[in-house]
């Protein structure tokens, strides 16, 4: 049976990532001119070597697995660190793993960054860009981490192409999740280098995205639960701790149960991805269908149980709510994944 626990190595990895992020994440930069923290990214990616965890050492990576990547995703969810991990270390890396493409080595070493040029909401490969003789034209909306990427992996009917981001027109989008900037990308006859057949590579990247985003949702849910529990222990109303009221206790107990489930489900998805288990499609859709509602519920309870202060911009709860909600629409909503699951487990509509 799949191992759903965290190994000692994974716990050590978590400790080092958390200690870095505790020190360095500064969410006040999100409304500034440079919301993405590339300095923090360099430390995480290059200095600590976490950019290419699932990439074999022979290909310049850390030779770990997607299980460890999932632990990093949990910590990124917990901290909302504005770094391009999802685009480069999950989507682009998953697309390139196994292709022997030279770009993989640069990504794994943290020398360059890339992302997959699809709308963040995508669940399956679709083409809005055309390629003729290695020259690409078209527009892709709502691309994650494209604003800071060096290279864009652009799917077309003729294949997946690597395009230098500088050769494209990138228009920043006001994203609902302030901590995860999106970009509209227009290719006006940009030159591209063929990487491989787009269908399977994009599908693999999107499955990896779905499977691992569940770990980010888990991290968000855990932050929200922990923060709320701490708050209700200190906040007093009617001369009693708010956390002493049974209705609050029961809601937080139910939330803890849900988070406990989300942890098992997210671990299962990460393990299936790491071991290329035949159950991976089920595991990934299950993870998206289950963990997103939990993360949203946790963020909503965090806002509600902080009362007035939770509704303000000055408390970070709103950023977690926005991230959880946007994640719930990323790589397919829970509703869509339930429909996908129905087909996978033979429960037709």
């Amino acid at each position: 049976m799949t191992d759903l626990l965290y190994s000692e190595v994974e716990e050590e990895l978590r400790a080092s990532v958390r200690s870095l992020l505790d020190d360095r994440v500064d969410l006040s930069r999100l409304e500034g001119p440079e919301p993405v923290d590339l300095k923090l990214w360099r430390t995480l990616a290059a200095d600590l070597g976490f950019a290419g965890l699932p990439v074999p050492e022979s290909a310049g990576g850390a030779g770990a697995s997607w299980r460890e990547t999932a632990v990093v995703m949990e910590e990124l969810g917990r901290s909302l660190a504005p770094v391009p991990f999802l685009g480069t270390s999950v989507l682009a890396t998953a697309a390139l793993l196994g292709t022997e493409d030279p770009l993989l080595d640069a990504l794994a070493a943290g020398r360059r960054t890339a992302t997959l040029a699809v709308p963040l909401s995508a669940t399956d490969p679709r083409w809005t860009v055309t390629a003729a003789d290695g020259v690409l034209d078209g527009t892709i909306t709502s691309v994650v981490d494209a604003g800071t990427a060096d290279v864009l992996l652009v799917p077309t009917a003729a294949g997946l192409f690597a395009v230098e981001a500088a050769d494209t027109v990138r228009t920043p989008v006001v994203s609902f999740d302030l901590s995860r900037p999106l970009t509209d990308v227009t290719l006006g006859s940009a030159p591209g280098r063929l990487v491989g057949d787009a269908g399977p590579l994009v599908a693999r990247a999107l499955t990896a995205g779905a499977a691992l985003l569940a770990s980010e949702q888990l991290g968000i849910a855990e932050w929200c639960l922990t923060t709320t529990v701490e708050y209700v222990k200190t906040r007093r109303q009617f001369a009693r701790q708010v956390g002493s009221y049974q209705a609050i206790k029961h809601r937080l107990a139910d939330l803890w149960v849900s988070v406990t489930q989300a942890r098992a489900v997210a671990r299962y998805a990460a393990d299936c991805l790491a071991t290329d288990d035949p159950d991976l499609p089920v595991a990934a859709s299950l993870a998206q269908a289950f963990c997103s509602p939990v993360a949203m519920k946790a963020a909503e309870e965090c806002v509600q149980l902080h009362g007035g202060i939770g509704f303000t911009w000055e408390h970070p709860a709103h950023l977690y709510l926005k991230r959880a909600r946007s994640n719930a629409a990323s790589f397919g909503s829970a509703t869509r994944h339930r429909a996908l699951l129905a087909a996978l487990v033979d429960l037709p509509a």
Binding site: E31, P119, L120, S121, T141, S142, V173, V174, S175, F176, D177, L178, L182, R236, Q237, F238, A239, R240, Y245, A247, I248, M296, E300, V303, Q304, G307, G308, I309, G310, F311, T312, W313, E314, A317, H318, L321, K322, R325, S326, A328, A329, S330, S333, T335, R336, R338, A339, A349
Partner: protein
């Protein structure tokens, strides 16, 4: 003559076209057609509240100027019924007319950083000094404070008695020295609310509403009216956010899916049930004062707004990942069904906090309607100054 006929009569002698809006509204008030359930001389005719909608319809059909009720919702929904019930004749005369015409905007200075759900724990102090009271403290969650001419205010006048007993209700002149209004930005990016800092602000004793120490009782009138105002607005079927989502569904077949369809229909059913509940509540209230039943309407309103706007965002798929802007704005009108889906989703989170959290409202229903035992409390028989802070 029924008041709708009176309204038509009024329109024959007051041509709404080209009339100065304020003059027109003043005349309508003086004709008793502002709120027919108020007494004659105070904008009403002493008639059942249920007759008002027909009057409003007559004026709306004639294209008459209105008082922009959303902008002055706090005055209409909270200050006015409280002043009517607890004010002196002089106070009613002074404040009700410009309140209704919209000449004077009102805000509400109740909540404090340490006194949200536990409103009676408030710490803002008012000390008697000759014919004045000198008030200092901090209020939060104050909408419209930056536009308001007057505020309804509760402050502590006697810290040596248990907390519910030492509170007095005042009308505060927002232009008085020592009133400092600072924007408080919300989850939506807007600063719809404010923090209001009061530093040695002087309020004449003539602006006290009710007796010294009666403030908590009087505040109940305000709060029960607030809850009915928030939850009980009369809307047609598919009024409010459910109509926004239903229209989106009808106009965008490409966004539909079977799973979302059942979710939509569940919310449609809940919204229509809540609407009919509001209709029935207003039929019950037609003669009387709002009671704890208004809490049910507000509870439903909050939950539905939150669930429906969440469905809307999910329905929008990729579009729901994008937003219009996060600039800090200072809105003067709050429209829960307005702006974008993302705004509605975020703004709705406040519906279960403002005007009494859903948790407090459930307590009220459980204790006052169902008669279940009160929460065990350590703060009822202790002087406010001796409570742990």
């Amino acid at each position: 003559m029924n008041p709708a006929e009176l309204a038509r009569d009024f329109l024959r002698s007051h041509d709404p076209a080209g009339a100065d809006p304020v003059e027109f509204l003043r005349a309508r008030f003086d004709a008793g057609l502002a709120w027919v359930q108020f007494p004659p001389g105070l904008g009403g005719l002493g008639l059942p509240r249920a007759l008002q909608p027909a009057v409003d319809q007559v004026f709306a059909d004639a294209g008459a100027p209105d008082n922009n009720p959303r902008r002055i919702g706090i005055g209409l929904g909270m200050a006015a019924p409280t002043i009517l019930r607890h004010g002196t004749d002089e106070q009613r005369k002074r404040w009700l007319r410009p309140l209704w015409t919209g000449e004077e905007v009102w805000c509400q200075l109740f909540s404090e950083p340490g006194a949200g759900s536990d409103l009676a724990g408030l710490a803002t102090r008012a000390v008697r000094d000759g014919d004045d009271w000198v008030v200092s403290g901090q209020k939060v969650w104050t909408s419209m404070a930056h536009e308001a001419r007057w505020a309804i205010l509760v402050a502590r006048t006697d810290p040596s008695v248990p907390k519910h007993q030492g509170i007095t209700y005042f009308i505060l002149d927002m232009t008085a020295p020592g009133v400092d209004v600072r924007p408080l930005r919300q989850i939506t990016g807007e600063a719809e609310f404010n923090e209001v800092f009061l530093t040695d602000v002087r309020i004449p004793d003539a602006h006290r509403l009710g007796e010294v120490g009666e403030g908590w009782l009087i505040a109940q009138t305000t709060l029960m009216n607030e809850r009915v105002a928030i939850g009980g607005a009369a809307v047609p079927r598919e009024g409010g956010v459910i109509g926004v989502v239903a229209d989106l569904w009808r106009k965008h077949p490409e966004l539909r899916s079977p799973g979302l369809h059942d979710a939509l229909m569940r919310l449609w059913v809940d919204a229509e049930a809540a609407r009919l509940t509001g209709v029935r509540l207003r039929q019950q209230l037609a003669a009387g004062q709002p009671g704890p039943e208004g809490s049910a309407a507000k509870l439903l309103f909050a939950r539905l707004n939150q669930e429906i706007s969440a469905l809307e965002l999910e329905l929008l798929d990729e579009e729901g990942l994008r937003h219009d802007e996060w600039t800090m704005r200072r809105p003067t009108v709050v429209d829960f069904a307005g702006r974008t889906a993302g705004y509605r989703y975020l703004r709705a989170k406040g519906n279960s906090i403002e005007g009494g959290t859903s948790e407090i409202l459930r307590n009220i229903v459980a204790e006052r309607v169902l008669g279940l035992p009160q929460e065990q409390r350590a703060d009822k028989d202790v002087a406010w100054k001796d409570l742990p802070k």
